[in-house]
């Protein structure tokens, strides 16, 4: 079941009513039941795998917590009898035990994730039969592993109720597609008793409408064209391939950020604020800025749990700082690629990001000198140039995900120079009545939709001047008229639901 289903929306309305009318102590159990039901609809095997993950993680977190408490008690009890060195040695030994349990937990969870990812990869090339679709597994694995690491680091208190931990792991609005929430950010909001906050509820509804607009009016419309363009990728090289990459970028943003808007909006309606995942990514001025704006929760997860720990790991200390950072960057982006799937296109995509980031880091002093020396770098024109440059760079990197075929993508890059087909590209529009699978009027709607989508940086205006209710009513009408749904339209899942 996806968010774009009358059954889902109908069920959601019933759930809102129950949530705010039942006794408040029933709120989080109700959300858990709904989340389990939602997940069960994706398949019992997927639900079972998720429950096993939660159970194992719960056990390990509790055990780590017990070890921590015992350690503190032991140190307190023998404060006078232990020397400083003895205490240090004892603490280190206890930490090692806890780390052992943490590694066991992470290994268990990531083995399951790896098995699923490798299975999917093998099924894609027909080596094994198609697997059960473990929907949202990458997202909940990261949530629960983040939780384990935070418990180990002592950043959060262990959750003693396994059901509450299960709710944090699979809260249905973010179960399938993110954001990858952190326990300390959402636990209180998820588990506390709440009275209805009409202002927040209204903003949640508006956020959902905005998401539906992005997904149904822009995303699904562009997907038709994408499917057409990648059905015969050999035909569309040069400018055609570049056009495909641009459309892909717009589609991916509309689809993913739209789904996240719906997800965040639903959570807000339950009085729960979850993390933002997008902040106008197409306004980024460089790749660092871009990754602070696109799929933020994934980026910060890898930063906090892979990049930072790796940079300060003991075995890395023998290297100079720059080498350490580059190694950590390469590993982080390699794992980011693998997180998306065990496929060459994802690995190359991840490493491309890593390489660009490393080069940018090396060139940073040069840029700073350049910026200091030339005052035009502070003008709006230069800012626009930087935005366009970053956009084009990321458009090329993103291209690896279009065809799931690395050599083909490189051939398309080469064709920009060897066979750009400028004339053929512009003639195409005059010679065809349907342009890349969409009628000209459909392109007009898509273009207007993209313009609106990029021009309205939702989150910034949220707390300030918000559009009046009539704007939202009109937007719902626009979705009803121009949305892609209904008979004849083959509804597909969100792109990011496959991860």
């Amino acid at each position: 079941m996806t968010f774009i289903s009358p059954w889902f929306l109908g069920g959601l309305c019933v759930l809102f009513v129950l949530y705010y009318t039942l006794p408040k102590r029933a709120q989080w159990p109700l959300l858990l039941l709904a989340s389990l039901g939602f997940y069960a609809l994706a398949g019992w095997a997927a639900l079972a795998a998720m429950l096993v993950t939660v159970a194992a993680s719960y056990g390990i977190a509790m055990h780590m917590s017990k070890l921590k408490i015992a350690q503190k008690a032991h140190v307190a009890q023998h404060r006078d009898s232990m020397t400083r060195d003895e205490r240090k040695a004892y603490n280190a030994a206890q930490k090692r035990r806890q780390r052992g349990w943490l590694i066991a937990g992470l290994l268990f969870n990531f083995s399951l994730l790896a098995a699923v990812k490798i299975g999917e990869a093998l099924a894609r090339i027909d080596i094994i039969p198609s697997m059960i679709f473990f929907v949202g597994i990458s997202y909940y694995m990261f949530r629960i592993c983040g939780y384990l690491i935070d418990v180990f680091w002592g950043k959060i208190e262990v959750q003693r109720n396994p059901l509450k931990l299960a709710l944090f792991t699979i809260f249905f609005p973010y179960a399938m597609i993110g954001p990858i929430s952190r326990y300390h950010n959402v636990a209180d909001a998820l588990l506390n008793e709440k009275r209805i906050d009409w202002a927040l509820f209204g903003r949640g509804l508006q956020r959902m409408i905005w998401g539906f607009f992005k997904v149904m009016v822009v995303g699904f419309r562009l997907l038709l064209s994408i499917n057409h363009l990648r059905a015969t990728p050999g035909e569309y090289s040069g400018m055609f391939a570049f056009f495909t990459m641009l459309v892909w970028g717009a589609y991916l943003y509309a689809d993913f950020s739209g789904a996240i808007d719906i997800s965040i909006g639903i959570a807000m309606c339950f009085g729960i604020r979850v993390e933002e995942n997008f902040i106008s990514p197409f306004r980024a001025r460089d790749i660092f800025d871009y990754w602070r704006r696109w799929h933020i929760t994934m980026g910060t997860w890898f930063r906090d749990y892979v990049f930072y720990p790796l940079s300060v790991a003991k075995f890395m200390q023998k290297w100079p700082t720059r080498v350490k950072i580059h190694i950590a960057t390469a590993v982080t982006w390699f794992t980011t690629g693998i997180w998306h799937g065990v496929a060459w296109n994802f690995i190359v995509w991840g490493l491309s990001n890593g390489v660009v980031i490393m080069i940018s880091q090396e060139l940073k002093p040069l840029y700073e000198r350049f910026n200091k020396r030339f005052s035009f770098t502070k003008t709006k024109v230069y800012t626009c140039f930087a935005i366009v440059r970053t956009f084009l760079l990321l458009t090329l990197i993103r291209a690896f995900d279009i065809y799931f075929d690395v050599p083909l993508t490189f051939r398309h890059f080469a064709s920009f120079i060897t066979n750009p087909q400028f004339g053929a590209f512009f003639r195409y529009f005059g010679e065809h009545e349907v342009w890349f699978g969409l009628a000209p009027l459909e392109w007009l709607v898509a273009a207007l939709g993209i313009a609106v989508m990029i021009a309205v940086p939702w989150f910034r205006k949220e707390e300030k001047r918000r559009p009046p209710a009539i704007f939202w009513a009109a937007l719902v009408l626009v979705i009803f008229i121009f949305g892609m749904y209904g008979l004849g339209f083959d509804m597909q899942d969100f792109f990011y639901m496959q991860f």
Binding site: P6, A469, A473, L477, F480, G486, G488, F489
Partner: protein, 358 residues
């Protein structure tokens, strides 16, 4: 207070705009396929019909209500649609009973041959239900008629189905935003031209001559409904050459009619007045005007004999006046079609009643 007012205003705006957009985007069925307007046409009549005729093109092209009235005094209305299946017919009957209780129902049983909703049946479902007033029986029948791709919600809010028509809007959508022109005379669709039947393929042998359970269930439902309301149910098969009506099927219907004491008129075997060289406009599938009038003249006396509830109602001033008006339109339509046939040999422009009357 200001916020509540603004929300209320937005709600009113949304409902009004939704209704207007839905009305704009729904097909008007005022030109091809104009048959989609037949269902709604019923609500324009004055609901004083002794006989309701239910079925597919086997009835709406083949029986002339004006002849039934003028020559036999039977006020009748045809509730037919293209490819109207048995469960569609049940929907028509249930919908009719929400507005009037006729004395008799003449039901075309040809659709018994279709066992389940066809995979490509969505356009026909829409033509049957788009014009029907929303009611629980309607929704129940929609549920039984839907193809797997359809959704019930799209029958409650047709915008969900027709929203993508925004690219196809034309002058007709604006012209008929508020009003609709008639497309039939009491459900009768006139075709005065002739397209003789040519070679008719021999009937194919079927592995199984059983009717589908869904169609049989709908027939039993209609039997129960008519019995409950004290309505005489009469079964009817039009004299079409195609699709072939197998003897095995006919035997089943004869048996069913005997079991339940129902009159059954099979025009294929009961009459030899139809000549498919002259009395058809589409090669033997349906009758043209001459054929329909001939068949009606043959059917009507049989009806009077076999359905005692049907009496000659001529002489009632209100009915006379109403039918006089319909007969005038009927003749004008006929004249327009005959004039066009004389000029072009076929009926194109005057196939629409409004074109003929304009």
């Amino acid at each position: 207070m200001k916020r509540i007012l603004s929300i209320l205003l937005a709600f009113v705006f949304f409902c009004t705009a939704f209704w207007a957009v839905q009305r704009l985007l729904m097909p008007k069925y005022m030109s091809n396929p104009f048959e989609g307007a037949l269902t709604a046409e019923y609500y324009r009549s004055n609901f004083a019909h002794d006989l309701i005729i239910i079925g597919s093109c086997e009835v709406y092209s083949n029986i002339s209500p004006v002849v039934l009235w003028e020559e036999y005094g039977i006020p009748a209305f045809i509730r037919g649609n293209p490819q109207q299946l048995m469960w569609h017919s049940r929907a028509m009957l249930e919908d009719t009973l929400r507005h009037e209780t006729p004395r008799a129902v003449l039901l075309s049983i040809q659709a018994l041959m279709y066992p389940t909703p066809p995979h490509d049946g969505e356009p026909y479902n829409r033509m049957v239900f788009d014009g029907m007033r929303l009611s629980l029986p309607m929704l129940r029948n929609v549920r039984e008629s839907m193809t797997p791709e359809e959704s019930m919600l799209s029958y409650v809010f047709p915008l969900l189905r027709f929203h993508s028509r925004w690219q196809e809007l034309n002058h007709e959508d604006l012209q008929f935003f508020w009003r609709r022109d008639p497309v039939s005379i009491n459900g009768f669709v006139m075709r005065a031209d002739v397209l003789p039947s040519g070679w008719i393929p021999p009937p194919a042998m079927l592995p199984d001559y059983s009717f589908g359970q869904q169609a049989i269930d709908a027939l039993y439902d209609m039997l129960a409904i008519t019995q409950e309301h004290g309505i005489e149910l009469i079964l009817f098969k039009a004299p079409s050459l195609l699709p072939h009506w197998h003897n095995e099927w006919d035997a089943w219907v004869v048996d069913f009619a005997e079991q339940h004491g129902l009159p059954y008129f099979n025009a294929i075997t009961s009459t030899d007045t139809i000549d498919h060289q002259y009395h058809t406009f589409n090669g033997g599938l349906n009758l043209n005007l001459a054929g329909a009038e001939r068949l009606t003249r043959y059917l009507a006396p049989w009806l009077m004999d076999n359905a005692p509830s049907l009496t000659d109602r001529r002489g009632e001033p209100a009915l006379d006046a109403h039918w006089q008006q319909l007969a005038t339109q009927y003749r004008a339509w006929q004249a327009a079609q005959e004039a066009e046939i004389a000029e072009t040999g076929r009926v194109y422009h005057s196939i629409l009643l409004r074109n003929a009357l304009s």
